[in-house]
């Protein structure tokens, strides 16, 4: 099975040959890969070198933490790659951004109103959690759509709080 794997903008062509061999950009390496204790911690031995990694299931892709550094990955097989290429993949993200609560907390204040124009980096609201006031900012320019919460509300994790269109 062949995959095109992108790590922080760098592409690797990876083929899984059998249970103990993969090729990476044409070079065959011996791998011994195990989940350590049913946890999202993996031990990988590649040609004798020992690595340990956490793998986080991000919203869209896997994030891999190796030796104190986080790598964002995109793994596609050839069919997925063709599909994305055909659809002009990699295009600028448009659509609606939904601001979800990154953690449970208390909405201290809302800094914008429905219909207001915002720039990337503008504070949308302040959420208090773990005794800290956390400013949640807009990831891009746009217009505030619906606001689903009010100051003083307690919100659960992942609660949709507002949208920016």
């Amino acid at each position: 099975m062949k995959y095109i794997t992108t790590i922080d903008d760098k592409e690797f062509l990876i083929e899984i040959i059998d249970d103990t061999h993969v090729s990476i950009d044409g070079k065959i390496v011996e791998v011994d890969f195990e989940s350590v204790e049913s946890q999202p911690v993996f031990s990988l031995i590649v040609d004798g070198k020992s690595y340990e990694a956490y793998v986080y299931q991000g919203e869209e892709a896997l994030e891999v933490l190796v030796k104190g550094r986080l790598y964002h990955s995109r793994v596609e097989d050839e069919r997925e790659r063709r599909l994305r290429a055909a659809s002009g993949g990699g295009a600028v993200e448009t659509g609606t951004f939904h601001l979800k609560a990154p953690m449970p907390g208390l909405v201290v204040s809302i800094s914008v109103e429905e219909g207001q124009e915002v720039k990337k980096g503008d504070v949308l609201l302040i959420l208090e959690s773990m005794k800290m006031q956390n400013e949640l900012k807009s990831p891009r320019d746009g217009v505030v759509g619906r606001i689903y919460i009010a100051a003083g509300d307690s919100v659960e994790q992942r609660k949709k709080m507002m949208s920016v269109e």
Partner: protein, 502 residues
């Protein structure tokens, strides 16, 4: 002399105090909120009593109830830890009025130092240099502060008079930012301390945050245990401390130590306390505030001086003389503390909540972990995000850094994101290694990506791992579709991890 102590706190510091009591043969009483029934401090104490629901105001800040429990359980003293009621003079007074010993200074010392405006005034009168800022001890309205701000000069800091731990503090670059910064500082102060009074202080650029630990007994003996370097901060929260400070010299150490002792004597201090100062690049130092309680970062001082500060606090509260004189206090080697917070360093240090499903603590020579969590602890949004302190000692600063690197790599926490990668990057940073940093370093100059760039990276390894995980997910999904066929996958790591990461 008391033989049972109530610990009016939670988390790692409650466990730290419990350990000291155990080692002194003293019985312990824990108090806990509904969120903390299974917390380590509840399980390790001799006795444990419920305070109320999870929010601090309904539990750990309920001074009356805590005193009532102390009396009911026969505790002779209350140790407040840090935070919560630790610097509340009214509480200390109420403890005294109930006939109990407060493990800390007298209410007068707390209130003199607890109101930062009064503390500044007291120090100025004692001839100790303070950071320029608003004077006097009256409550200042928003109008007053807006008027005084230009006199203090920008950039400046708004600080809560009841402040501590960076709460209720805001940096302000110019007049335009004043109103909203005032409002959010007051809001945070109100939420953290129950009152929203603030004052202004000039923001010194290029300065280091250095503090002196003092110990004082009930007989007027005061000594200092030298300095801690605490400049590595983010949003005025300390992240990493070390002792000794890389910029300290013997002369400055002695001058600062003397002033710290003098400051403590000025308020008839007893117990452990800390004089926080800013030190500029010309080695001038300015009094910032005095913390009239045990400090989060006390262990680094313990490791380089050999003094067990918590045991010493308890001995002092029991009416014993200090076990040490100033001449006994020497610095041996170097110590570093990394605060391990449930925060995502790759997402603006956003707090991370959840269940810690797996944890591996570093250990071995020269490594100490102070923590209240274990595999199974739920990290809730009710309390602060510090889950553990990793402290190492080395014969030299360089050895301490090498040791901290290996300890950080050993430290595994699964279930919440932590700032361990931040600390790992810091240990690799040339600025840190060279001891060349100030209070602005983390926020203004420290860039994880940039520091990592000079280092060996492992994108190929990450690529292989991501691909193998994705491959297995795909195979498994296909397998589910073809349910009934024999599982031909040989991957040994078919496991519950994905369930957990959902």
């Amino acid at each position: 002399m008391f033989n049972k102590v109530l610990i009016a706190n939670r988390g790692e510091i409650a466990v730290r105090v419990l350990r000291a009591c155990r080692e002194l043969g003293i019985k312990t009483v824990a108090v806990y909120s509904e969120a903390d029934r299974q917390a380590m401090h509840v399980r390790y104490a001799t006795e444990a009593y419920l305070l109320g629901p999870a929010p601090s105001r309904e539990s750990y800040l309920k001074g009356d109830k805590i005193i009532e429990i102390a009396l009911k359980s026969g505790a002779g003293a209350i140790h407040p830890g840090y935070g919560f009621l630790a610097e509340n003079a009214d509480f200390a007074q109420a403890v005294e009025d109930a006939g109990l010993e407060f493990v800390g200074p007298k209410p007068f010392a707390i209130s003199s130092m607890g109101d930062k405006a009064i503390a500044r005034k007291t120090m100025m009168e004692a001839g100790v240099p303070v950071v320029p800022g608003t004077k006097g001890t009256n409550r200042l309205s928003d109008e007053d502060l807006l008027r005084l701000a230009p006199e203090v000069g920008f950039p400046l800091l708004i600080k809560a008079t009841a402040g501590g731990g960076g709460k209720g503090m805001r940096e302000v670059k110019n007049m335009d930012e004043m109103p909203s910064a005032l409002s959010s500082a007051r809001g945070e102060a109100k939420s953290a301390f129950g009152e929203d009074n603030v004052y202004l202080e000039k923001l010194l650029i290029g300065a280091r945050h250095i503090e002196i630990q003092v110990l004082a007994d009930k007989f007027g003996n005061v000594i200092h245990l030298n300095e801690r370097e605490c400049s590595l901060q983010r949003r005025h929260q300390k992240l990493l401390e070390e002792a000794p400070s890389p910029v300290m010299d013997e002369d400055l150490r002695q001058r600062m130590g003397e002033v710290a002792v003098q400051a403590a004597k000025a308020v008839n201090y007893e117990s452990a306390g800390t004089i926080e100062c800013l030190v500029d690049s010309d080695k001038n130092f300015y009094f910032l505030e005095m913390n009239t309680r045990l400090q989060v970062e006390h262990p680094i001082t313990e490791l380089v001086t050999g003094v067990d500060i918590v045991k010493e606090q308890i001995r002092i509260a029991r009416g014993r003389k200090l076990s040490f004189t100033q001449d006994d206090i020497k610095i041996k080697g170097a110590a570093i503390e990394c605060r391990v917070n449930a925060e995502d360093p790759y997402n603006n240090f956003m707090p991370s909540t959840g269940l810690i499903s797996h944890i591996v603590l570093p250990s071995g020579p020269g490594v100490r972990v102070d923590t209240g969590v274990y595999a199974g602890t739920e990290i809730t949004p009710y309390y602060d995000s510090m889950i553990s302190k990793l402290i190492v000692w080395g014969e030299t600063r360089a050895q301490a850094i090498l040791r901290m690197r290996r300890a950080l790599e050993e430290y595994k926490v699964v279930g919440v994101r932590t700032n361990i990668p931040f600390h790992q990057t810091m240990m690799d940073s040339h600025r840190f290694m060279g001891g060349q940093y100030d209070t602005r370093f983390v926020e203004e100059e420290f860039d994880m990506e940039e520091i990592a760039e000079g280092k060996e990276t492992f994108p190929d390894i990450a690529a292989i791992i991501a691909t193998l995980v994705k491959h297995e997910q795909t195979e498994r999904a296909a397998h589910i579709v073809r349910r009934g066929e024999r599982d031909t996958s040989n991957w040994k790591w078919l496991s519950r991890w994905e369930r957990l990461s959902k």
